[in-house]
Every structure is written in C-alpha cells, then in structure tokens.
C-alpha cells in the first residue's frame, strides 16, 4: 500500500466511464422502449423489441455496476445520495421490473399482451423520468449533516428535477431513434427518423434551458462558466453541442444510417461533460469532494486490481455480442 499515490483520479475516471456506458447503453434501449408505444403495428413492435432483446440485460448491468461502483469508490456519497432520492429510485426500480419482464412475458403471456406492451413502454418512460429526476436533484444538491442526508424524502422533487426528468426522456428517446435507424429499414426506419426529429427538438430545448437555468440558480456554477479565462476555455463545449444538434438534424433527414445514433451519443457526451465541469470536484455538491468522499486506499487498490483486468474483458465480450447481433434486425431471430 502506497499512501502517497492517490487512486481517486483513476476511480473517478472508471466510475465516470461506467455511468456513461450505462446512460448510453440502457439509454438507447429505454428510448426504444418509449418509442415502442408509438409503433405503427404488431410486426413493427416485434421488430423493435427484437432489436434490443439480446442485449438489454447486459446494458442494464451497468446500472448495478454504477451503483455498486459508487459505493466502492465513494461510500459516503452513496450513503448520502441514494436515500436522498428514495422515491425516484423506488420508481425507477419498479419501472425497470415491469419493463424487463415485458420482454419475456409479452411473448409468453399472449392473453395479456396489451398489458405487457404498455408495461414495456410505460416502464421505460418512468425509468427514464426517474433517472432524470435523480440527475436534477443531484445537480441541485442535498441537505447534509455530518456524513448523512438529513432532508426529507420528497425534497428531490423540484421544478428543476422534474424538468430534467422530462429532458432525459427526450434524450433517451433520441438515442433510441438513432438505434432503430441502424437496426431497421424501409418505412419503419422512416418512422424512426420522424420520431427522432421530434425528440431532437425536445432535447434542444432541454439542453438550452438547463444550460441557462443552472448558472442562474447556482452562483458557483455561473462563476465556473462565465469568469475569465474559463469562458474562453469552455466555449467549445456549447459550440460543439450546437454543431452536434445541427449535424443530428441533418443526418436524421438524409440517408445516413449510423450518424443519427452517433451524433446523439455525442450530445450525451457533451451534456455529461457540461455537468461534470459545473460540479467538479464535488461528488456530493457543496459537502464532499471526490477526495474527501473516497473509500479507503486499501479498498480502492483491492478493487482496482481486478477491475483493470475484468473491465477490458467485459468490454471485449460485450462488443463481441453486439457483433454477433449486428446488422438489421431479422424477424427470424429473437422471440417467436
């Protein structure tokens, strides 16, 4: 054990990547779940569901890793944040239950297919909303005494957090539309492009609104972005975001197959970066920095050894499974 070398930057990076992978991967399949509700017919619904059936479980596993990773790297942050968002977490978990089971139950429980169809769409939407509320209340911060959250269980529902909840629904739906453009063809793809355009309008409004709102309510965030020389150094963030929005719009309208999904991912990277810049270096806004909240050196080191070996392996076989199920979704593979 070498107490001089801090592992916190490494863990911050790993956790940031883990959470981002969750947002990107489960983001698109939650988005697909929401769009599912607007599918034109049975055949379309079957195809849409088959496009994510083999991979959604792996995607959702990043949520477990994200939560346990937070506990492992920054235990006090876990102990403060999770009880503070008690009800959004509850809502998310119950929604994910319905949504996850709908994959199997929809095909096996034909008498109640409509129920599970709705469960799939509503579960996806509620899970996305709940995650957005969690994000919004995290940005706003929590009431803390010592090492514990001491506010009320409903404090996390504010106008801002409800807004970020809706915003994330649009964001995930945009990712989902991008995914469906990759996985489908013909009229179904056109349908996905049309929905994608509507989602992009929602995302653009949301990004603009949150970007203006957060500095307005939090002077620290305002100082971070608008003081000199930060304003010059950070200017690329909004500029690239704007460029990506334009590119996303264009690619939804022309025939590009991968660009809508990739541009949507790019938008998530930029928004993620924007939030990170606003909050850095806090993990519990106003109370704990990353360094202060870090787990013991021994805990970080012990987990790091295995993670550095296992994470690349996981990425490798996850990538392999995406390769196996590559290409346009076929009606003969998946549930029947």
């Amino acid at each position: 054990m070498t107490p001089t070398l801090s592992l916190v930057p490494i863990w911050t990076t790993i956790l940031a990547i883990g959470v981002f992978l969750y947002v990107a991967l489960d983001g698109f399949d939650l988005g697909v779940g929401m769009l599912y509700n607007f599918a034109p017919d049975r055949r379309a619904r079957d195809l849409i569901m088959n496009s994510i059936a083999p991979i959604w479980d792996g995607n959702e596993t990043w949520l477990v890793l994200g939560s346990v990773g937070l506990l492992a790297a920054f235990p006090v942050a876990f102990a403060i944040i999770i009880p503070a968002v008690y009800f959004p977490i509850l809502l998310m978990l119950l929604a994910l239950i319905f949504r996850g089971l709908a994959f199997e139950f929809r095909y096996r429980d034909a008498e109640h297919r409509t129920f599970w169809d709705h469960g799939f769409a509503a579960g996806s939407a509620l899970a996305a909303f709940a995650q957005g509320v969690i994000l919004g209340s995290f940005i706003q911060g929590f009431q803390v005494e010592g090492r514990q959250f001491v506010g009320g269980s409903f404090d996390c529902f504010t106008a801002f957090s409800v807004f970020t909840g809706v915003a994330l629904m649009f964001g995930y739906a945009l990712l989902g539309a991008g995914w469906l453009v990759i996985k489908t063809e013909g009229t179904l793809q056109d349908w996905a492009r049309a929905l994608g355009r509507r989602c992009l309008i929602g995302v653009t409004i949301a990004v603009a609104f949150v970007s203006l709102w957060t500095p307005f309510v939090d002077p620290h965030i305002a100082a971070r972005w608008f003081s000199w020389p930060n304003i010059a150094l950070l200017a690329p963030v909004p500029l690239i975001t704007a460029a990506l929005i334009w590119y996303e719009w264009r690619s939804l309208n022309n025939r590009s197959e991968y660009a809508p999904f990739l541009a949507a991912l790019g938008l998530f990277v930029m928004s993620y970066l924007g939030i990170a810049i606003s909050l850095w270096p806090m993990i519990v806004p106003r109370y704990f920095t990353l360094e202060q909240a870090a787990a013991s050196q021994s805990t970080q080191a012990f987990l790091l050894v295995g993670t550095l070996v296992l994470l690349p392996v996981i990425l490798l076989y996850t990538g392999w499974s995406y390769w196996v199920f590559r290409g346009k979704v076929r009606s003969d593979i998946g549930y029947h």
Binding site: A53, P54, I55, D57, G58, T61, V64, L65, S67, V68, L71, A72, P75, V76, F78, A79, I82, P83, Y86, F87, I89, L90, L93, L94, L96, I97, F98, G100, L101, F103, E104, F105, Y107, R108, D109, A110, H112, R147, Q148, F149, V150, G151, G152, S153, A295, S296, S298, T299, F302, L303, T307, L310, I314, Y317, S321, V324, F325, D332, I333, H336
Partner: protein, 465 residues
C-alpha cells in the same frame, strides 16, 4: 399508530430478498443443468438431450429474467434504507459486491443473450461455451454475495476507526470463518432445489405418458443427482452448524431453543419458545442428545440464550421454527430419494403412480427449505447487521420516516404479487405443454436432421405467436 422506519425497512428487505432468493435458488442449479444437457447432446447427439435443453431453456429464460429485475433492486436497498450501514461498512463490503458484478452479472447477461438468441448466429461449440459461461456466472455470483453475507455474519480482517470499518486483510475478509461452510451449504441447497424441480417435472411428464423418453431421463438424472447431493447437503449442514456454534453461539442457542447452557444439553424436538419467560412451553426434548450432535461429544459444552443479555438475542421462535422446517424438509427429501432408488432398483420407478405423484408434490420442497434456511441464518443474526459489532437499529437511513417506508413496502408488495404469479403460471404452462421436440428437430424413430443446429434455432411450434 407509530410506524417504525427500522422495522418497516427490515420487512421490506426481507420481502425483496426473500422473493429474489427463490430465483437464484432455482437458476443457479438450472444453469448448470442446461450446460450439462448441451454438453451431453454435443457428445452423444441423442435428441432427448436437445429436447430437454430447449424445454428447460424456456423456463430458465423466464426465471432468470425475473432474477435479474428483482436482483437490481437489492444493491439499491443498501443505499435507500440502510445508508448508515453503507457508510460504516462500505469500505469492506463494496469491493465484494463490485466483484460480483464484474465477474458474474456481465457474464450471465451477455452469454444468456447468446444462449437464447444466438443458435443461428454462432458455431455450436460457442453456443455450448455460452451455456457453460452462464453457469459459471451464476456460481461466481453466489461466491461473492455469500462472501459478503458471511463477513457480516462472522466479521474478521478489519479495524474500526472513528466508528467505521476499514479493511486490514482482504483474504481474511473474503474467506471469513463461516464462508466456506455457508458457500458449500447454500450452493448445494440451490442444486438440490433445482433437482427436485426436475424430479417433479419428470414425474409429471412420465405420469402423463406423452413425452415418456424425456420424462424418464429427467426422473433418472434427478434421482441419481439427489442420491449424492441430499446426503451431502445434510453433512454440509451439520458442519455449518458446528461452525455456527463456534462463531455465533447466540444464534445457535436460538436455533436450538436452548435457554440454559452447559454440558450434556438436551435436544429440543418441538416446543414453543417464550422469550419473556425465558423458557420453552410444551417442550419435547431428548436429554443429552443436543450436546452429541452439536459438539459430536456426549458432554460437549453449549452456551444457552441466558448466557447473552436479552438485547443481544435473536427473535427465538422464528429462528427455532425456521430451522426445524428446513431440517424436516431435509429428512423428507432423504426419504423420497431413498424410496426412488429402491423403486428404480426394482425397475418399478415409471409405473409406481403414488411415487410419481409424491415427486410432483415435492417439486417445491427445495424452495421452502431455502427460504427456511435463509430465515434461520438471517433472523438468527439479529439484532446485528454486522454480527456483534453493528446493530440493525443503527444501520437504517436517518432521513426515512415510517410512512416513507410503508409506501415503498406496499408498492414492492403490490408489484411482486403481480409478477410472481404471472411468472410462475408461465413456467407451469411450459411444463404442461411438455418437452415437445421442435418441428424440424424430431429425429426420433431414425434418421438425423440435416443440420441439428439449424433445427435448434427454429421456433417451437407451440409457443404463442
């Protein structure tokens, strides 16, 4: 009415973990069974193994899916309801939970996708590897989650600084004193649970007579397996008991309903433990036998409940009865397996209808025993979350009100009461339809299909479209 957030949080945890554990209890064994069937088919090319693998895979998909979604609930419980425990013990338990995710969940999730949907897309050898990797994942998950639980039961390798636990020796933390026994006893219990389900389904299939070959194979595979594992499980349980006597004497005293410790203690067969009066009512006990089986010596010393202050005793009656249910089922299982072996030796197994019916009734015995065993060990740990060191009362999130937890508990109850009956009925429907070979993969009666793998991937005709 006063709503106590601690009590309600305990109820909520018991509710979500109790329902969740049923699924690993079944799928850990089933994953290994499917890998075995896939391997047996690859080696022998006997169609019965293929039909059985496809049959159980459908049931596995449902139970595993339910296991995943109810499992995601679990790590969040540590944060939502037990945040003080997370803060105090996070440095120690978190890497164990993280390693479970890293070594098990991704493996299971990714290769289950390949197993279910990839028959046409990957070579047959890779498909078999996927089955093995899913099974390895379920076992790895058991390893890490039981390492976590065992450390909470028998904590070692730590130091306490400012009221929080810090790791000193990771090897000691993972291989805490109760861990090897708990792991062996639990995984063996999971295997026995699955084998009894296969036995029951096999008996039902034979009794109906429609898929006789498949039914007979299931019946025999399960019986042979249980002939080894039920006695082994009883032996492992005994060893686990000796370990509990050494490391958690207060829990053992509750299990035995033993108030006055000493040498040559009696074995309580059945009684009503009265915590207020500190004695057992209407007790039937055998003198001195308690010491014999607890310590393997006639005059072995055993501590009684009165050796511990009242505020360090578990709810005796729950632990006492849960243990007796578990042991009673274990003995019943032994009798069922012995009877089956006798009938098999006489060549009457498939024709003895009362026995086939008995096996059908025994389908869920393992599940009940697992719940009873889990209750014994978890309620027996009370009033501690970390045995002897951190109280459950000090572990609960300070921000929660009783009504907060009541709302979440009621919602968990409502949702689980929808999904479990639906899931069970869908699995029963597959059992009722039987292990029908798929339309193209029916080479029974001679001839081999052109490409078994193509046939494998074709949809079963009976599934709903």
């Amino acid at each position: 009415m006063h709503l106590d957030p601690e009590f309600l949080s305990r109820l909520q945890f018991a509710w979500v973990v109790g329902w969740h554990i049923l699924l690993p209890a079944f799928t850990v064994g089933l994953a290994s069974f499917i890998a075995f069937l896939e391997g047996a088919y690859a080696l022998t090319k006997r169609p019965v193994f293929l039909a059985l693998s496809q049959f159980w895979l459908k049931i596995f998909a449902i139970s595993f899916g339910m296991g995943v979604v109810t499992g995601i609930v679990m790590p969040f419980q540590f944060g939502t309801n037990w945040s003080r425990f997370s803060d105090v013990a996070g440095n120690i338990i978190s890497p164990l939970l993280a390693y479970e995710g890293l070594t098990a969940f991704f493996l299971e999730a990714t290769f289950l996708g390949v197993l279910l949907f990839g028959r046409k897309l990957v070579p047959p050898s890779m498909h078999f590897v996927a089955a093995v990797l899913v099974a390895v994942g379920t076992l790895s998950s058991s390893f890490w989650i039981l390492a976590t639980n065992s450390w909470m039961q028998t904590p070692v390798g730590y130091e306490v600084i400012d009221g929080r636990f810090f790791p000193k020796d990771w090897f000691a933390i993972i291989f805490s004193p109760s861990f090897p026994y708990r792991l062996a006893h639990t995984v063996s219990a999971f295997y026995v649970t699955t084998a009894f389900v296969v036995l029951g389904v096999g008996a039902y299939t034979v009794r109906r007579g429609q898929w006789l070959t498949e039914g007979r194979v299931m019946l025999r595979l399960a019986l042979w397996f249980l002939a080894i594992f039920v006695p082994l499980q009883i032996l492992l349980g005994d060893l686990h008991g000796l370990n509990t006597l050494e490391h958690q004497p207060a829990k053992l005293a509750a299990i035995e309903g033993l108030w006055d410790g000493g040498r040559g203690v009696p074995a309580s067969i059945i009684a009503w433990p009265d915590m207020k009066a500190e004695r057992n009512l209407a007790e039937i006990a055998i003198p001195r036998v308690g010491s014999l089986y607890l310590t393997h010596a006639w005059d072995g010393e055993v501590k009684g409940l009165k050796d511990f202050p009242p505020d360090q005793r578990a709810p005796v009656a729950i632990v006492y009865f849960a243990f007796r249910i578990m042991v009673g089922i274990g003995l019943l299982m032994l009798a069922i397996v012995a009877a089956g072996l006798v009938l098999m030796a006489r060549g009457q197994l498939d024709r003895t209808r009362w026995y086939l019916r008995l096996c059908q009734f025994a389908t869920g015995l393992g599940v009940i025993a697992v719940i009873a065993g889990w209750t014994t060990t978890e309620v027996g740990r009370q009033p501690w979350t970390i045995y002897g060191l951190m109280r459950t009362a000090d572990s609960v999130s300070p921000s929660l009100t009783g009504s907060n937890v009541l709302v979440s508990l009621l919602l968990y109850i409502a949702v689980y009461l929808v999904i479990y009956p639906v899931g069970l009925s869908l699995m029963l429907r597959f059992v009722w339809r039987g292990p029908a070979p798929t339309d193209e993969a029916a080479p029974i009666g001679g001839g081999r299909p052109k490409s078994p793998i193509e046939a494998l991937a074709s949809p079963a005709p009976e599934t709903a479209r």
